[in-house]
Symmetry: C2
Amino acid sequence: MDVRSEILTQATRLFAEQGYDGTSVQQIADAVGIRKPSLLYHFRSKDELRENVLAEMLAHWNAVLPGLLLKASTEERFDATMEALTEFFIEDPDRARLFLRETLDRPSHMQAMLGEFVKPWIQLLGAQLERAKEQGLVRADVDPQAYAVEVITMAVAGTAVIDTLQVILPAHPARGGTRKRHARELIRVARSSLYTDDEGKR
Amino acid sequence: MDVRSEILTQATRLFAEQGYDGTSVQQIADAVGIRKPSLLYHFRSKDELRENVLAEMLAHWNAVLPGLLLKASTEERFDATMEALTEFFIEDPDRARLFLRETLDRPSHMQAMLGEFVKPWIQLLGAQLERAKEQGLVRADVDPQAYAVEVITMAVAGTAVIDTLQVILPAHPARGGTRKRHARELIRVARSSLYTDDEGKR
DNA sequence: CCTACCGATCGGTAGG
DNA sequence: CCTACCGATCGGTAGG
């Protein structure tokens, strides 16, 4: 791996763990195994480094998202989208932590990103859910856009903090480890609060 | 108000907005209107200030929680607990932001706090839900402890970031403002994914 | 990619 | 609660 991507990897990890303000350029350089000025040759400033870290995450996001949307629209199964979205974050919890920190630390910047990259497909998903409501597939009391926001929040935030929560959600012989219990219950809550007919009630 | 509580108020606000590492003692002193060394006379270090900010939040928590628990156990209505819990955070979003930041920034410290203050009542709530399951009031496929964790995560994280999300969840003529839409859908998701019989499906 | 170095700000102390 | 001050670390630059 070349130096540039190694810098991005370490910066992503450290920003996710300690936050932007809690991480020094020196720390990142140490983790990579170079001197600080060498790092600042590749990225002119700490701020530019953060922008590149974010851009990388956004690129992943944009590569995966169209596939998820297609799934939801062709199968009329919105829970498939939610499952895939959850997997996307669980696969690398640093993504979830980074996303959450950026929302807290730079709300106006995050608003711009959300407006450009997330809003369009939230609206699309919302429209699909509205149609499904008219067909009686989806519960009448659902607020589609609000529902999407709640489920995404649960997936992102839950995944970001799940390892810390193992003290109140320990592994269970029949229900699996902490991450598994989180993932399964998240999907169950999302699905059972959406559809009119729903298995496994009793 | 005396100086000490004014310092705590401003520190709480700034830690919630910018994070601990993103906030300097100088900034807090400026907000209060005193010099930095004067602040450090009241709180010996920045770290001691953070501990006091957290202790204050915990005190609020411990004053409110017993009442919520009582509600849930006497009425056998768990959603009442969830509603009250949501209100507790929506009433002051800084609490939610502070709680979320502390979980991200100091996971092991948060684990200790969770084990001491939150675990006991999560287990109690879990046991109540297990009994309600046997009575057929609550769905058979619920993982009670995992359910509690998901709903609390949704309430805390959702409230912490809701103002930033207004770009993807705008005010709606019939459904109310962003916060209201969030609060209502959160309660709806929590309730409809819990009970076997449930109103408002179609 | 390195050595050497910069001004600014950090949390904190001495002394009144 | 203040003025004056401290060493350490911050992000960043010059020059090779």
